[in-house]
Point group: C4
């Protein structure tokens, strides 16, 4: 054979595959909800909880060479590529499209390419509004985590404030990194409204408490009720775990003191 | 001459060169076995041992700008580019294609591009099944290393379990990184069955003991007997070395104690 | 739908958008002034101060996948992509084009691509000269920071020296990194004159003192007067802050000594 | 203007510019000598010394986005892009082409692309043999540094050994990194003979002693006499500096001892 000649890249840098079930689906005033992994996994917790509770239907998969180069195993040892997923739910009067997944990009450029692709999907599906969800790490435990907001058009702010979202002049000071941020900027260029809801969180732990607050706010905004019981339960459990840790820490300190004494 | 004008990239990002000996070879139910460098060099040890013991014939070379930018010298000072290699062995009723080599990709994106190229080769050669081999690092010495498995189609699992492969709900928790993992995911997209065999290993040392177990399992699965004597010998030597290290460590501790005493 | 087929990158690696206000503007002997983020933020301080004091008009925006993957929030929570900006000011007998922005490239290759794009803009706008502004970090506080210079054509040097710019045989020894440097080299290839003005600075702090000196030098060179009062005020404030730090440090040392004594 | 539409990359990833003086030059049995920056700057010292002593003529420049993103200043403050250069010298019966420069690639992929481009130049100029020069770091001072060799065709070895080059089974163990190595592998694919000469060196210091040995060996191999006096002088100076350091170190230790005593 000798040299096989010019190599051709077969794999796409980003590939979107819609499932057949989604073929010819006519969408009604769709809203896109992004909940990819990030600080405190807040966005991921909210979006995946909604998918679970609403019984949303999977409609597509996204693979990319910008995801980490690995496969993920399910409990049966079945391997699949790292991926993002699209889910669909028909609420009364509006359709919801969820964007969730395993990972974000491993490179800076990949972040832009992926986020723009997500906006391309939103444009193709004629999405009216995008909500991106995330955590805002403050570096310490937060007793009553607020939901901070950002928008890509000034006119969107009052509606969010009415739903209880805080706009803080100084936070988040460093901007918003990754898909939750970039989708705001990149969708604006396509004329799509987008808002980001960020739950305050320590940044050290998966934070269902913060997620529960973001969920309540989002449900109000999109007017789609989602029973928060299970997420609240998980938040309560987490709270106990943390109390235990704090208590244990305190006891340890007391012991140290008595030992010294 | 002045400016020579538009630069053209001459080098291919990935190049596959088949040796002339492989021209027009008609393959019978080929199975591909990947054993590239990785944790404990387990996969590499198994695949290279099989090539050596079976007397498999080299049929191709793969070069890539995603490999480390270096040449490797043989004992005579002859330099060659870092590369991967393809070997061929005609077993009774089936052909084996081995994929071995010096390195994996140095970049995340390169991992995807290379692994997809390996699957492209498998598809071109009409490979029926891919076995990827690797080590699963547990962080401590393992007395009786198990062979853990992963598959890219659920139906493949029983066959592996019959051959002694363990499917552990929780391991490997973090997925499988690099070619051994990606080839499972990417070959599934091409409709090729693939399984990964991972030998438990500390992750700190080259591990012929773990490799011997993977070899025994693979030989059973593909029904191609390979005399394990030399690999077992190497494993025994390694075991003595480790015992020596442990013993030495223990003696040192005893000495320290007697010194204190 | 199944696979949507070949993915197409929609986003440009670098995009330049001119505002409509700039349409058909006829430029007179334009000079470009680059003040992107860098050491001591010296260049950024000078260029943004000039834009502010002269009331220069925004004429364009530059976005790129080589900028950090984030959005920046204004005080109202309005998000926008990281970007660079072009400003325009009609001085008597000449037009000024300012290049300022949030970030430089996150990758080495991106630095080249962006800097070349900036030179492409300069060439399109028929810019006669480029001034790139920056800081030159010396690693210690500088009482009377000099303005060091570099040129991309030997004949430009006397004019700069006349304006008080120092050309030091040995500094900056390591060359000039980023846009301020690359634009000199890349504009030379397009036949555009360019000079770099670097204010000496510690490298540890934002340095309005150094910036005030660069401003004075640049204003002389382009013969466009800019009232330096506010920048000098800021420099004075900064000086007091630093004096306070040094004093505090001294006092602390004295205390330590008296404590020892 | 609005959006200017599709961005086009103007800058080439690698650009080669030959000077006009080189136009129509007919080359006689050309030999290429690569001496880019590397361990101990050995290769760079040798090639630049030869250019200087032979009075070789500059014939071309290479720029690349894979070089560090910076300009380099000459003693007059004139800035130029980081670059590599080609020099030409007509020896009796053969022509020499030197490849020297400021930097090697900053990325792994860039190393391959640049080294292949250097080989492309060699092929265009019908180069008969390439010598790549480098240092081989041993981690300690070497009194009588050997010249180690590597070749890209086994038949080249005897000629090198005759000239005093050592071929050591075990060194350099890790292969040869960067242009000096890759050019051996990549030129082999183009059918061009190439050898690498590596001077043993500590790896911590610029090493004219090691360079002098490589120079002597290379001069013998290409049969082009080069007066080594100045390089030997520099080596002698360096030797005194090091002796001083060692002596000083010894004295310091003696002092410490007497202080204790």
């Amino acid at each position: 054979m000798g040299n096989t000649g010019g190599w051709q890249k077969m794999i796409e840098e980003i590939s979107i595959r819609y499932l057949d079930c989604f073929r010819d689906k006519h969408l009604v005033d769709p809203i896109m909800i992004e909940g990819l992994p990030g600080i405190g996994q807040v966005g991921k917790l909210v979006a995946e909880y909604m998918i679970h509770m609403l019984g949303a239907e999977k409609i597509g998969e996204i693979h990319s060479i910008y995801f980490p180069p690995q496969v993920i195993l399910d409990e049966n040892g079945l391997a699949r590529l790292a991926r993002n997923e699209l889910y669909f739910y028909r609420a009364s009067g509006k359709d919801l499209i969820f964007l969730v997944g395993d990972h974000q990009s491993t490179s800076n450029e990949g972040h832009y390419l992926l986020a723009d692709q997500y906006c391309e999907i939103a444009e193709e599906l004629k999405v009216l509004r995008i909500y991106t969800l995330g955590g805002f790490g403050v570096g310490h435990l937060v007793n009553e985590p607020r939901v901070l907001g950002a928008v890509n058009r000034a006119e969107l702010r009052p509606e969010l404030e009415e739903a209880g979202v805080t706009f803080d002049r100084n936070e988040p000071g460093g901007g918003i990194i990754g898909a939750a941020g970039l989708m705001l900027g990149l969708s604006a260029q396509r004329g799509i409204d987008a808002a980001c809801l960020m739950g305050e969180t320590s940044g050290y732990l998966v934070d269902p408490m913060s997620a529960a607050n973001v969920l309540a706010t989002l449900a109000k905004l999109i007017n789609v009720p989602v029973d928060p019981t299970k997420l609240n339960d998980r938040a309560s459990e987490m709270e106990k775990v943390i109390e235990g840790l704090v208590e244990g820490n305190k006891m340890q300190k007391d012991e140290e003191l008595s030992y010294i004494g």
